[in-house]
Subunit: 453 residues, 2 copies
C-alpha cells in the first residue's frame, strides 16, 4: 500500500497534540462533574427524520448505507434512514424524550462527542469535529437560575484552560431584544434580529440599510436598533445605558432583569484572560432560543466566529403532552484547538504518557528493569523500559525524542539506583521505594509555543 | 414529536450506567498510560479502499453519502468514498503509514473509540460499539518482548476491573501450530488452523471429520491435531505435554519457546478472577497473525465468544519500502459491558457525579448555598445546589433518587453547617473548610447488583 493522504475536513492529531487535547477534555470534564453534570453519550446516528426536526442544515447530513445494500433502498423512508448527528443538541433532545421515564429532572448533562457535517472545510470548520456541550433540562418548567449556572460553569471550564488566547463570553437576551423592537414599533422583531445578527460580518451602515430595505423599518427605527446593539458592558451598567434609549416594554424590562442576573452571577468567574459581558449586538439567528443567548470570541481568532454558543429554549423537546425547556452551551473543541495546533501555537509536552524511561543495561536485565518500572507504576508514575539495550547515550536520546523527562538507571557495580533529569543533565541517587517526579512532570502538560495575546 | 423508539444495534446507556462505563474506561486508560501507551484517536472514516485492504467484512461497512449529493456519485471511486471504520486496527495501520515520518518507533498506542458494522445485532454484537485497543508497532523490526508486554498490560487492565465475572485469557502461537502441522505432514497448515479454530462451536469429532473431508488429512493426522488442541495449562507444563506428542519441527520449537515466555511473563498478572493460560486450541482464523495469538472468555458469557483478542502480525502495515510489524490486543468494551448492563448485573452507584446536594432553605439563600457548593468543589468534591426550595424532606428524596450520598444543610438559627449521610440518616456538624466525604463516596462507583460467578 502506498502512503495514504489526509482526508480533507477530518483533522487528525499527532500523539503530542492528542496528549494536549486529552488534558483539555479532562479539564472540561473535571469542571462539569464538579458542578454535578452527568456525562451522557448518545449514539452517533439519528434517523434523518429526527435530524430534520429543527428544520436545519439538512443538506449537510451524512447518511449511512450498507456498502452492499440495495442501492436507493435507504432513500425512501426518513424514519428509518440513519444519518450521522451534526450537533449534540438534536440527539440530546431525542435522548430526553426517549428515556424521559427513567431520567430525573432537572437533568444536568455534559456530552463530549464527535459530530459530522458534509460541508466545505475551512479554518475551524471541519467535517468531523468534537463538541463539548452542557445543558440543564426541566420537565414542564426550568427555573431561571439555571441560565446563570450554565454560563458560570462554562466560564469556569474555559477559564481553567489558561493557555488559551483571551476569551470574551458575550451574553444577551432575546426577550430584551423583542421587547425593545416591539417598544419602537417593529412589526417583525424576529426578522429584525436575524439582520442585526449580521453585525459581526457587515458594517452598521449596511445593517441599518438592510433593516430598512428587508424588514421595512423606518430610518429612525433602524438607528434605534443599532444604538441598542452598540451597548455592552462587563458590569451591570448596560441597564442604565439601555434605559437612556427611552424605550419601554414589559418584555424589555424582563429581559434586562434576566441579563443583569446572568452578568452579576458570572462576575466571580471572570479572570484577566476571560471576560463575561452583556453585549446587546448578539442575537443568535436561530429561532428556538427564547431568552438568554451566548456567544464567545477568541482574541486573534475572530475569523473563527463564535467558539462557544448557546442559550435558553423554552422547548428543547416535546412529546405533545410534556414539554422540556432547557438552557445550554456548546463549546466547539475542534474549532478552538485545531487552529492552535495547526499554527503550531500549542502542543503537548511529550508524545507519550511516560514520565520515566527505565534504561536497560543488557537484554538479560529486562526482568529487573520491568520490576523497577512496575514499582514506579504502583505509585502512579507512568514508566516504560527501553525497547533495546543500546548504549546509554542512545537510550537517553530515545527519551529525549519522546519528551520523557527522566531516565532511571538500575544498580550497576558499586552504584545504586540513579535517576537523571535529562533536561538539566543532573543525575542523582534515588530510592526506588519513594522517589517521585515533581508534580508538573507526572503527566504531559499543554505547552504554549508562543505567547498568545 | 412522538416518543422516539430505540434503533436496533445502537445501544444507549442511562446516566448511572454511563457513570459505570466511564469509570471502567478511566481505569483502562490509567493502566495503559502507566505502561507508557500513548492515546491516539483516528478519524471515524476511512476510504472504502482502505477498509477493504485486509480483505475483510467489506459487506458490513457503512458508507457515507451527503443527503443531497448526486445519487450514485459516491459509488464509483473506492479511493474517495468514505466508510465508517469497523475496527481500530485498519485505521491504526493507516495512521502509522500516513504519519510515519513524525512518529517514534517502537510506538506504543492505546485507542478507545467507537466502531460501526452494519451487521445483524445479537447479544454482545452491535452496529455501534466501543473498542479499547493496545498495540506496539515497530519499524522494520519489533522485539519479541513486546508480545509479553501487551499481554501483561491487558491482563493488568482487565484484572483491575474487579466486578467482572471470571476471565480466562488464552494464549497460543501460530508458529507452534504451523510447526506441529508441518511436522505431522499436513500440506496446508493454514487451512487446518481455520478448521481447528471452530472447536469452540463444533464437537471434536466433527472438527476431526472436517479436517479429513475438507483439508485432506488422514484420520491419524486429524487425531494428532485434536491431541495438540486439547493441551492447556496455566503454567509452563504445556511444553512437556506437547513434547510427549513426539512431533519435531523447528517452527514448533520456536513457537513453544515464545509461548512459554508469554505465559511466564504474565504469571504475575494472574488473580483469583483472571487466569492467563496456554490454550493450544486457539488458532484465530485471520491470516495476518503470524506468532502469538490471544483470545479471552468470560465465565457465564461463553456465548459472547472472545471478548478480547489479538496477536502478532509481522506486517501491520507496509508502504512497499518499509514494513511495520506489530503486536496488539483489542478489548470489546461494548461486547463485555452492554450485556452486563442489559441483564441488570452491573450499574453505577449514582446517576450524577455529585457527592453532595446542598439543601436550599429558601430561594433568597441561593447565593450562600452556591458559595457552600463552590467551597466543596474547590477541594474536588462534586456538589450541586437543590433546584428549588422545597421542604427538606423533598430535597432529601431528590438526592436519594439520584444516589447522592450526602445532603449539606447551611447554618440556620443556632445550628452551624451540618451534613447528613442519607443512607445511615446520621446528621453531624461539619466544617465547611475541611469536611471531606469518605474516599469511596467521592466519585460514582461501579456496583454489582448480583454476585457474578
Amino acid at each position: 500500500m502506498s502512503r495514504p493522504t489526509p482526508v480533507s475536513g477530518f483533522p487528525e492529531l499527532l500523539p503530542a497534540q492528542r496528549m494536549a487535547e486529552q488534558q483539555i477534555l479532562d479539564e472540561l470534564r473535571r469542571v462539569f462533574e464538579l458542578h454535578g453534570f452527568a456525562g451522557v453519550e448518545t449514539r452517533a446516528v439519528e434517523t434523518v427524520e429526527q435530524l430534520g426536526s429543527k428544520g436545519e442544515v439538512e443538506k449537510e447530513v451524512y447518511v449511512l448505507r450498507r456498502l452492499h445494500a440495495d442501492p436507493g433502498a435507504e432513500a425512501a423512508d426518513p424514519s428509518s434512514t440513519l444519518g450521522l448527528h451534526f450537533d449534540l443538541t438534536v440527539p440530546f433532545a431525542r435522548y430526553v424524550l426517549e428515556h424521559a421515564g427513567r431520567l430525573e429532572f432537572p437533568f444536568r448533562r455534559y456530552q463530549i462527542q464527535k459530530a459530522w457535517r458534509g460541508e466545505r472545510p475551512q479554518e475551524g470548520r471541519f467535517r468531523e469535529f468534537t463538541q463539548a456541550d452542557i445543558d440543564v433540562v426541566g420537565r414542564d418548567e426550568l427555573p431561571f437560575h439555571h441560565d446563570v449556572e450554565v454560563a458560570r460553569v462554562m466560564a469556569e471550564a474555559l477559564g481553567s484552560l489558561t493557555f488559551l488566547p483571551r476569551l470574551r463570553i458575550q451574553v444577551n437576551n432575546r426577550r430584551l431584544l423583542q421587547g425593545f423592537y416591539a417598544g419602537i414599533g417593529v412589526d417583525d422583531p424576529t426578522a429584525a434580529m436575524r439582520v442585526v445578527d449580521k453585525l459581526d460580518k457587515l458594517s452598521p451602515h449596511r445593517v441599518a440599510q438592510a433593516l430598512v430595505d428587508e424588514v421595512g423599518l423606518s430610518a429612525r427605527q433602524a438607528d434605534q436598533c443599532l444604538e441598542l446593539a452598540a451597548v455592552r458592558s462587563t458590569d451591570t451598567s448596560f441597564v442604565d445605558a439601555v434605559k437612556r434609549l427611552g424605550v419601554e416594554h414589559d418584555l424589555l424590562e424582563q429581559g434586562l432583569a434576566e441579563l443583569r442576573t446572568v452578568v452579576e452571577g458570572c462576575a466571580g468567574a471572570q479572570t484577566d484572560r476571560l471576560t463575561i459581558e452583556a453585549d446587546l449586538s448578539v442575537a443568535r439567528g436561530l429561532d428556538y432560543y427564547t431568552g438568554t443567548v451566548f456567544e464567545t470570541r477568541m482574541s486573534g481568532f475572530e475569523g473563527l466566529g463564535s467558539i462557544c454558543s448557546g442559550g435558553r429554549y423554552d422547548s428543547l423537546a416535546s412529546d405533545g403532552r410534556t414539554t422540556y425547556p432547557g438552557v445550554g452551551i456548546s463549546l466547539g473543541v475542534s474549532r478552538l484547538l485545531v487552529p492552535l495546533f495547526q499554527r503550531g501555537l500549542v502542543t503537548g509536552s511529550r508524545s507519550v504518557p511516560s514520565a520515566v524511561l527505565v534504561a536497560l543495561p543488557d537484554e538479560g536485565s529486562r526482568p529487573e528493569c520491568d520490576a523497577v518500572a512496575q514499582a514506579l507504576r504502583a505509585r502512579g508514575v507512568a514508566a516504560e523500559v527501553a525497547a533495546s539495550a543500546q548504549k546509554y547515550g542512545k537510550q537517553i536520546r530515545y527519551a529525549e525524542r519522546r519528551g520523557i523527562p527522566f531516565v532511571w538507571f538500575p544498580p550497576s557495580g558499586e552504584a545504586g539506583h540513579e535517576v537523571k533529569d535529562i533536561r538539566s543533565g543532573e543525575q542523582v541517587e534515588a530510592d526506588l521505594d519513594s522517589w517521585m517526579p515533581p508534580h508538573a512532570d507526572l503527566r504531559p502538560q499543554v505547552t504554549v509555543e508562543e505567547e498568545l495575546s
